[in-house]
């Protein structure tokens, strides 16, 4: 085992779909701790870039590389999708599933799942079928399922986009706690407030490219590119 699967290094990475270049070329490295926020308008390529880093998309050219063996790298990162994938099982079975995949005994995995159910505040719903959960509860389930494997890196794709204020607060508190526990967080959002509350640094994505990267306050107070300035001022970017 290596100490961390970071740094993550992207070199001239490009994703194309249906003959269109959606992301790239992008070139950057992520290391250390904290929370990096991918910010940018809808369709900028945030989801695609997250999926590329996580290994769900292939780079058409360029490279994405982690530190460690392929298996280590796969097992030590988690991804929370914008629309949580809810398996047709009970809540605790959903949360325990990644441990089963890793070969842990079911009983043991469920005990661990129950711990995470309490952690994210789903204690009343552990034995319920997961599909009856509300949007916020589904997102909590997804977070617990992502955290149960004790990942080095956690990817979050607009984790609160469809949630009300109260659920958003709860989810953000959980993300902050994961960050405090030393999980390296990489998240996409188009919510300025959220990126200030959770982020340490901003990567501004526009039309598939990183136009700016910097500390949160610097980015919002002194954007260096025209696109970022327009985006921050709330003008419509096309």
């Amino acid at each position: 085992m290596v100490s961390s699967i970071l740094p993550l290094t992207l070199k001239d990475a490009v994703v194309r779909k249906g003959g269109v270049q959606i992301v790239g070329p992008v070139e950057f490295a992520l290391e250390g701790g904290g929370c990096s926020v991918l910010i940018g308008p809808n369709g900028a390529g945030k989801t695609t870039l997250l999926r590329l880093m996580h290994g769900l998309e292939k780079a058409r050219s360029g490279s994405v590389s982690w530190n460690g063996t392929q298996k280590d790298v796969r097992l030590r990162q988690s991804f929370v999708f914008q629309t949580p994938v809810v398996m047709r099982r009970t809540v605790r079975e959903n949360i325990a599933y990644p441990l089963l995949v890793r070969g842990r005994h079911k009983k043991e995995a469920l005990v661990e799942a129950d711990r995470w159910i309490d952690e994210v505040g789903l204690s009343a719903s552990g034995h319920k079928e997961a599909h009856i959960l509300s949007g916020g509860e589904r997102q909590k389930l997804a977070l617990a399922r992502a955290m149960i494997t004790d990942p080095d890196v956690l990817f979050l794709d607009e984790p609160t986009t469809n949630l009300d204020g109260a659920s958003t607060q709860e989810i953000e508190a959980l993300i902050l706690r994961a960050k405090a526990d030393g999980v390296r967080i990489i998240m996409a959002t188009h919510d300025f407030g959220q990126s200030r509350r959770l982020g340490d640094e901003i990567l501004f994505l526009y039309r598939g490219q990183i136009h700016e990267r910097g500390q949160v306050e610097d980015f919002f107070d002194h954007p260096t590119t025209e696109e970022a300035r327009t985006f921050i001022d709330g003008d419509i970017l096309v």
Partner: protein, 234 residues
Amino acid sequence: MNDLLAGLISAFHLIVTLDHDLVEISLRSLQVTVTAVVIAAAIGLPFGAWLSVTRFRFRRIAIAVLNALMGLPPVVVGLVVYILLSRSGPFGVFNLLFTPTAMIIAQVIIVTPIIASLSHQAIRELWYLYHDLLISLNTSKWQRMKALLWDGRRSLLTATLTGFGRAIGEIGAIMIVGGNIDHLTRVLTTAIALEVGKGDFPLAIGLGIVLITLAIAINLAIHILSRTEREGRW
């Protein structure tokens, strides 16, 4: 009309008194069909799941062929199995023609594509839903199939019951390979055909009632299952 009424009355008598022939034939029908459906499900369900999670060159063609096999005419299946099992055929040495085993083989061939095709459709939908998560969790192909088969179990049960409904009422193939031999290969459908030919309506009607009851029970089960599926989202 009187014939029918008299037939119905004696049919009920046969059923209520658990007539020996009626019970024997019904049990054989169940034995052959249940065995065939269990074997067909053991092949068809994993195959349907495998087909959903595997990309290969002729996948689309394989799916089209599978769907076409769903409509395989039982009489032709019976004929082919007959030729294969007959004394001069490649499997003649096993002496299987005109045995329940031959009937099971024919029904497995008829039912497996049905179960495989229906389960493939159900699993493909679920795979579409689970795809990103299962890839992200670095699951093996076997783990993916296991998760999909388990979480899709209600639709798979429906697929299996559909296969059962098809097999229990089937006559074309089992008549040819079973031969409708008394106390050996006679089942509900072949017995009804025989009794009607002989003019023994009470037994024929009694057998018919049992067959229809089984068919209705199966359809009811499918209906209830697919309703709970929709309401509970599966």
